[in-house]
């Protein structure tokens, strides 16, 4: 059961009935949705099999075939922040059947989808992202971000500060996780919460620290740097309880065939 600032209220704004998800509102968790109550969806939610990907930024031509460019992804979360890109050379590519039978956004280092939020999120906020860095760029001495934004920046990815390069996260200050960057599929969980920010990889805790106070007013997926695949991204505009983090993590682990260590 998700609880927290804004969670239930936002869920009511576009609840399960509106989304045709009434059957998930009560009863056993399959997990076909990120949380057991299903009615409280992430505020921002993008995934490559959403049925809401389009080849053009105006979202008129569906992207469904392996190799199609992705010019728009319609947010499946409650805040409906569609992210777009109008330059073909900068559009991620849809790749089918990549991880546990599921599709991904493939980014070549010059690709991104971005959009502005209708209102900035406020810390604390919690990100989940299933992604894989391409082996060709692991530890290449460059900062490579899964997500970012140009103004109020919250980001995470590979940092070149350490040697070898480490995963890091940032909301005005960088926190080095102590985990060397690699090319394995990973579920990122990042809690942006000022001095109490924290990060988990597949549920296992990494270094916590002060990521500073930036709160995102938009989102760039791929961030024109990431070389690799991004399967799914969820953002909750509050700090989920450990139980809720585990529900979302288990949903992602089940879907993509990943391990998940229970967050205590």
């Amino acid at each position: 059961m998700l609880t927290g600032r804004g969670g239930n209220l936002r869920g009511l704004r576009m609840g399960p009935a509106l989304l045709g998800l009434e059957k998930y509102k009560r009863g056993a968790w399959t997990p076909a949705l990120p949380t057991s109550d299903g009615g409280v969806l992430p505020h921002t939610w993008h995934y490559a099999e959403s049925g809401a990907l389009y080849q053009d930024a105006a979202a008129t031509i569906p992207a469904v075939a392996d190799g199609d460019v992705i010019g728009a992804s319609v947010d499946q979360g409650t805040d409906v922040h569609t992210i777009t890109e109008a330059v073909t050379a900068a559009k991620p590519t849809l790749k089918l059947d990549i991880k546990n039978g599921h599709a991904v956004f493939r980014c070549d280092g010059g690709d991104q989808l971005n959009g502005v939020f209708t209102a900035p999120y406020t810390q604390p906020d919690t990100h989940f992202c299933v992604a894989k860095l391409d082996p060709s760029v692991v530890n290449n001495g460059a900062n490579l971000r899964v997500v970012d934004y140009t103004t109020q920046r919250q980001l995470y990815g590979q940092s070149a500060v350490q040697n070898p390069d480490e995963w890091y996260y940032y909301a005005g200050s960088s926190v080095q996780t102590g985990i060397a960057a690699h090319s394995d599929w990973t579920t990122w969980t990042v809690l942006f919460n000022g001095a109490s920010s924290a990060c988990w990889f597949d549920g296992a805790a990494a270094n916590a620290g002060d990521a500073n106070s930036a709160s995102p007013d938009g989102l760039e997926v791929g961030a024109m740097e990431w070389v690799g695949d991004i399967a799914e991204l969820l953002i909750y505009d509050y700090n989920l309880s450990a139980a809720d983090k585990n529900e979302v993590g288990q949903y992602l682990a089940t879907k993509y065939g990943l391990t998940w260590t229970v967050i205590p």
Binding site: D56, D66, G71, A86, D108
Partner: protein, 145 residues
Amino acid sequence: MTTAWKWRMFLFVRSVDATAENKAAFGAIFADNGSNESAGDEARAFDAPVKLSTTGELPAQVYGLNTPIKTTMRDALLVFLDGLTNARYVAVANADLPNYRDGEYIADNFGDLGIDPVGRVITFDQALGFLFREFGLQRIPDEDA
């Protein structure tokens, strides 16, 4: 269903050729052949290219782009590149296609890649290697925050 974006092209043009006129022409090739974006937007592909120089430092002498294209764009793009001095490209399959697997080499205009590319998957990084081999060009690290 097969994608209409059958080729992926690694394109390299001299920075001096990235004129407003050429950017507009490049953008029009996409916009006029089914990208469903405007020519002005497509011309912005040159706003954030991969940059190369013989020193590996700024200023950039060559810009690199990595883009899928539709078959309908192909001939016009090849004519465009042919009209530029020393422009280079490598084309690979953008998905599993009849006779080609994803990423497999299709064509290039380098003349001599130093390898036999037929039947191989060629990456953008490998294409950068071809540029280094022919022109001594090195990638300039991105400016970072």
